[in-house]
């Protein structure tokens, strides 16, 4: 029994890598066989060559994007959780704020960048803020939903003892909302990378966004693609990190997941 399940586990861990490898092989075959021009669609080999050749600058810009995104994301978590808590705990606030929040979220954050540049100058400022603005919404929504859908039966256990509303929200509402919170983190982190890159493309001299624009304008497509690969890799690494933390802290919510 154990052997089968550990084989299953190994299969599941290797699956994404095998798929990735398969995609890269097909991609390479198509580019080589059809002799696709490097300007139009670089092959994996060309991208890897670019990554090796420009390793230094890529690393430098990647680091810049990374810390900018992390700062923006951290602010998004703080604001998202606080606002989510406020909105989720009061039906009145929920009704008042939700439509406005949705309207705000529909605005393309790229449009904000020029305004942010006027307020904060070029560089890290707008990048951090764009990352924040674009990524706090899912966190806020999920926390609010987790709190607003708290089962009355769970609430009753504390109400009967005379617990205050804050007790119930903190002792039952928030722990109960943790699975929703982690789900939103996984979405928000990818959005945060989008936000910072978009800002860097328009208003920065540092970061992968700048690298993309610069490589594009000097027709170094493999380098531009290399930049995209790096962003994808960073986002995936953060996603995995949250998934690990989630598994540790919300074991109670995933106990049905051992079935294959």
């Amino acid at each position: 029994m154990k052997k089968i399940s550990s084989m299953n586990h190994a299969a599941r861990t290797l699956a994404p890598w095998i798929l990735l490898l398969a995609i890269l092989v097909v991609w390479q075959i198509i580019c080589s066989a059809l002799d696709v021009s490097e300007f139009i669609f670089p092959s994996p080999m060309a991208i890897i060559e670019a990554m090796i050749e420009f390793a230094g600058p890529i690393a430098h810009h990647a680091l810049s994007t990374f810390w900018v995104t992390m700062v923006g994301f951290a602010i998004a978590v703080a604001v998202g959780v606080s606002l989510g808590f406020l909105i989720g705990s009061s039906p009145l606030l929920y009704a008042a704020a939700y439509p406005l929040m949705t309207a705000f979220n529909a605005l393309p954050k790229a449009a904000f960048v020029p305004v942010l540049v006027v307020w904060f100058g070029i560089g890290a400022g707008p990048a951090i803020l764009t990352a924040f603005l674009i990524s706090f919404f899912p966190i806020m929504v999920n926390i609010a939903t987790g709190l607003a859908t708290l089962e009355p039966e769970l609430e009753d256990v504390l109400r009967v003892l005379g617990a205050k509303r804050m007790d119930i929200l903190l002792k039952v509402g928030m722990p109960r909302s943790l699975p929703y919170f982690f789900a939103s983190l996984k979405v928000a982190i990818t959005l945060a990378f989008v936000g910072s890159t978009v800002s860097e493309m328009n208003a920065s001299n540092e970061g992968i966004g700048y690298l993309l624009v610069s490589a594009g304008s000097s027709m170094k497509m493999p380098l531009a693609f290399a930049g995209l690969v790096v962003i994808g890799a960073m986002a995936m690494a953060m996603y995995e990190l949250f998934a690990i933390i989630e598994k540790r802290t919300t074991r109670w919510a995933h106990r049905g997941g051992n079935r294959s």
């Binding site: 769970l154 009753d156 256990v157 009967v160 005379g162 617990a163 109670w252 919510a253």
Partner: protein, 273 residues
């Protein structure tokens, strides 16, 4: 053989612990009452059971007793004081154990002490002492060794036992049980009857047990009240003639069956009205 009517059942006022006087409740200003004209007095330490058909207002009665709802008419007093909100000397267990799944069994049992004064104030200081109390309670109900397990690692019966421990950890004077054993199999149920009987014998808190199981009421209670269909009224009150201490073997004897039969007839009359 006739059950007494309400007026004749009032006990000596000096000892009255739970005091419902002509209580009516309608939800959210609805025209129809959920419960009507409920009058009921219990002595301190008395074990009473309330039986009745589904939807008769037993849960409404519970909400009135815990202070979660105020009566539309009439008054509810416990230990001489009007009930205006949830009371801290009350413990409650529901049909679903509703243990918080992110806490261990032990932490679940300790939960009331984190809420109710005066335990709350000194919780960190006295944590070791409280933990010992919780472990002792768990041992009494047969959950020795399960303190560090999570609720989803326990069976339904074990979760319900933990839920009862949680209801007793803050040493309440009154225990309210809302069909606590309804979701369990017959053997576990009988086992838990004995657990409850022993806890009550030892600590002598007031118990209000709401149940649809007549044998359960007959085995455990001092006094049994029968409620009618909605709007719920108390149609009968029966003092339990069976002597204590009561063992499970008693449930196969004639006097026991006669009592259950009598209660059944009252319910039958109620369901046919």
């Amino acid at each position: 053989m006739q059950a007494e009517t309400i007026e004749a059942g009032v006990t000596d006022t000096a000892e009255v612990f739970v005091d419902f006087r002509r209580v009516f409740l309608s939800y959210d200003g609805a025209d129809e009452f959920a419960v009507e004209d409920i009058s009921l007095q219990t002595r301190q330490g008395e074990f009473i059971a309330i039986v009745g058909p589904s939807g008769c207002g037993k849960s409404t009665f519970m909400k009135l007793a815990t202070g979660l709802k105020r009566p539309t008419r009439g008054s509810v007093a416990i230990a001489g004081a009007d009930v205006t909100g949830p009371l801290k000397f009350v413990g409650m267990a529901f049909q679903a154990p509703t243990l918080l799944p992110w806490r261990t069994t032990l932490d679940n049992v300790l939960l009331p002490l984190e809420i109710v004064e005066p335990y709350r104030r000194d919780f960190k200081k006295n944590k070791a002492q409280y933990t010992e109390r919780a472990l002792k309670l768990l041992k009494t109900v047969g959950l020795d060794g399960y303190a560090d397990k999570f609720p989803w690692e326990l069976s339904g019966g074990m979760q319900q036992r933990a839920s009862i421990c949680r209801a007793l950890i803050h040493e309440p004077k009154m225990l309210l049980l809302d069909e606590p054993f309804g979701a369990l199999d017959a053997f576990t149920r009988e086992e838990l009857w004995c657990v409850l009987r022993d806890l009550w014998t030892e600590r002598k808190f007031n118990v209000i047990l709401v149940t649809h199981d007549l044998r359960e009421a007959a085995f455990l209670a001092d006094t049994i009240y029968v409620m009618s269909k909605r709007p719920g009224r108390i149609v009968a009150r029966k003092e339990n003639p069976l002597p204590r201490p009561r063992e499970l073997a008693l449930t196969y004897t004639d006097p026991f069956n006669a009592l259950v039969h009598e209660l059944r007839e009252h319910i039958g009359r109620v369901r046919n009205t």
